[in-house]
């Protein structure tokens, strides 16, 4: 069920109505049932997989906590990681690993994957990468002693199944989400209005910005060899906005939906396009994943190897960003995307003192704006590799940007206008939230009428400029 479909809003409306009608003590069970139905609507069979994952992790979590011996605690933690990562590898990476293994051995020519032994005909269950990571984090937290294992099976199940975050995150933390399940949630009008406003923003980002750019971008990329450098550059810059609008739009709808049910999910974005360097970008982009990798991979590796000095940091960065890269999918372009981020952050780490000295000699506004622009260009460049199916495709686009002379392609001026207005509104809202530059704000205006009229205009603009073809969210495929 897509968040941008009519059926989703029918589901949401009727679920909300029933949720607040039934007695408080049954509400978590109700959420559990509708979350299960929501997942079954995607594909019925996958409910068995997720129930297996929930059950086994519920039991192992308690075992980790109850084991008095440190060795048994580590054994159960490794068992859990083995089971979870094993499931993820089977569904997401098995064919990729086999293909590369045989390719490496040079045994089989791989134009046709049918020739590879043991190849599995599986489709990645939507949301698997998100809830597996969430579960591993839960296990590590129990092992570290920072949380208690959840003993209530229904509540633990809801931690994984809660439908607003089930398919595309945010990857929640147990210490943030589980206490919310234990409260008695009462109807609060403010939760409904705040949630609805957040959903409206999400729809704007998805339907007006992301899906409109998507039409242009996919046309350009499909014929990238014949496109001019200016067109390829423009499409690549727009793609950065598209991915941001698509994923943060989805997150807005997820957070807005959760809010309506009285839950606060983790923020996943903090105005990433205004980041001043690549490290800063990763503190603002897909925060629930980047902070997960920071807490459970980077910090343990680097702290354990702190005697290695700078090499320990480099080692931790490479492992962490390769994980972030391949988390997106089983392909070499994602590995390269991750490595690029790691190298950029290494460079920033080595040059941090020099850059600080330089910054003192330049006007801060100019220095900051140049930093934002450079970071944006780096992210755009790395996203060319991210979006390309193969490395040669990425190289062709990059070569095309510099070598193909010609005019900018657009089918009609209105296409350009709608895309640019959408990106502009998104940027202005981010700039306002980051710096509070503009004295007059529309959506957070203290005057109730101005605020309501602004949201009404936003909805009208969505209806006028939105793309209503039910385009899938980019991050569904991860």
């Amino acid at each position: 069920m897509l968040f941008n479909s009519i059926i989703y809003f029918l589901f949401l409306g009727s679920s909300l109505l029933l949720y607040y009608i039934i007695p408080t003590k049954f509400r978590n069970y109700f959420l559990l049932i509708i979350s299960g139905l929501f997942y079954m609507y995607v594909k019925v069979e996958y409910i068995f997989l997720i129930l297996f994952i929930i059950s086994i992790n519920y039991l192992i979590g308690i075992k980790i906590e109850k084991a008095h011996d440190k060795k048994w605690q580590i054994f159960f933690l490794y068992l859990s990681v083995f089971v979870n990562v094993g499931i993820l590898i089977f569904f997401k990476y098995w064919n990729f690993l086999l293909k590369n293994f045989f390719d490496f051995l040079g045994l089989i020519h791989l134009n046709n994957t049918d020739n590879i032994p043991l190849i599995a005909e599986v489709v990645l269950p939507i949301g698997l990468s998100y809830y597996i990571f969430q579960t591993i984090g839960y296990m590590i937290d129990i092992h570290r002693g920072s949380i208690k294992a959840e003993k209530n099976f229904a509540q633990f199940s809801l931690f994984t199944l809660f439908f607003p975050k089930l398919l595309v995150g945010p990857i929640e933390r147990a210490n943030h989400f589980l206490p919310q399940i234990k409260r008695n949630i009462h109807f609060d009008k403010q939760n409904i209005t705040e949630g609805a406003k957040r959903i409206a923003w999400g729809l704007f980002k998805k339907l007006v910005v992301a899906d409109r750019i998507s039409i242009y971008h996919s046309t350009v990329i499909a014929s990238s060899e014949s496109q001019s450098g200016s067109t390829l550059l423009f499409a690549s810059v727009l793609y950065t906005f598209q991915v941001y609008a698509d994923f943060s739009g989805y997150t807005d709808i997820a957070l807005g939906t959760a809010k309506m049910f009285g839950f606060d999910l983790m923020e996943n974005f903090k105005r990433p396009l205004l980041a001043k360097n690549v490290s800063d970008f990763w503190r603002r982009w897909h925060i629930s994943l980047s902070s997960w990798v920071n807490d459970y991979i980077f910090n343990p590796i680097v702290l354990k190897n702190r005697d290695w000095g700078i090499w320990g940091v480099f080692y931790g960065l490479i492992i962490s960003f390769v994980v972030i890269g391949i988390w997106h999918g089983a392909a070499w372009n994602y590995v390269l995307f991750g490595l690029l981020q790691a190298f950029a952050i290494m460079y920033e780490f080595i040059t941090r003192k020099t850059r600080k000295r330089i910054s003192k000699k330049i006007h801060p506004v100019i220095y900051d704006q140049a930093s934002v622009l450079l970071t944006f260009l780096f992210v755009t460049f790395s996203l060319i590799i991210f979006q390309s199916g193969t490395l040669s495709e990425a190289i062709n686009i990059i070569k095309g940007i510099f070598l193909n002379h010609g005019d900018l392609f657009y089918d009609k001026p209105s296409t350009l206008l709608f895309m640019l207005i959408g990106c502009g509104i998104m940027l202005i809202v981010d700039i306002q939230a980051e710096f509070g530059r503009f004295k007059f704000s529309l959506f957070s205006n203290k005057n109730w009428i101005v605020q309501q009229v602004s949201y009404a205009l936003l909805l009208i603009y969505i209806l006028l400029a939105g793309v209503f073809d039910g385009g899938q969210f980019i991050y569904f495929s991860f």
């Binding site: 002693g145 980077f298 702290l303 003192k353």
Partner: protein, 80 residues
């Protein structure tokens, strides 16, 4: 050595490593309260603290510090 003395020394190590004279820590200060205190600089600070106090933290201790107060109490525990 008491916790307050440790806090003052930790503060001076933060100022040196992060190259920021304006840093003023208290026991509730968290990473997000200090602009340059990211995970990369965190490692440098831990190394500098261990070197100064001549102590060695276990990995689990380091991973469970949530604020400056935890860190100072951790140092005190090691010194005693």
């Amino acid at each position: 050595m008491d916790e307050n003395t440790i806090l003052k020394k930790v503060n001076s190590i933060f100022i040196e490593v992060l190259d920021d004279q304006s840093i003023l820590l208290n026991e509730y200060t968290k990473a997000e309260d200090v602009e340059a205190w990211d995970s990369l600089n965190h490692i440098q600070m831990i190394t500098a603290i261990e070197k100064h106090f001549k102590i060695r933290f276990e990995l689990n201790e380091l991973l469970n510090f949530t604020n400056v107060g935890d860190l100072c109490r951790g140092i005190l525990k090691k010194l005693n």
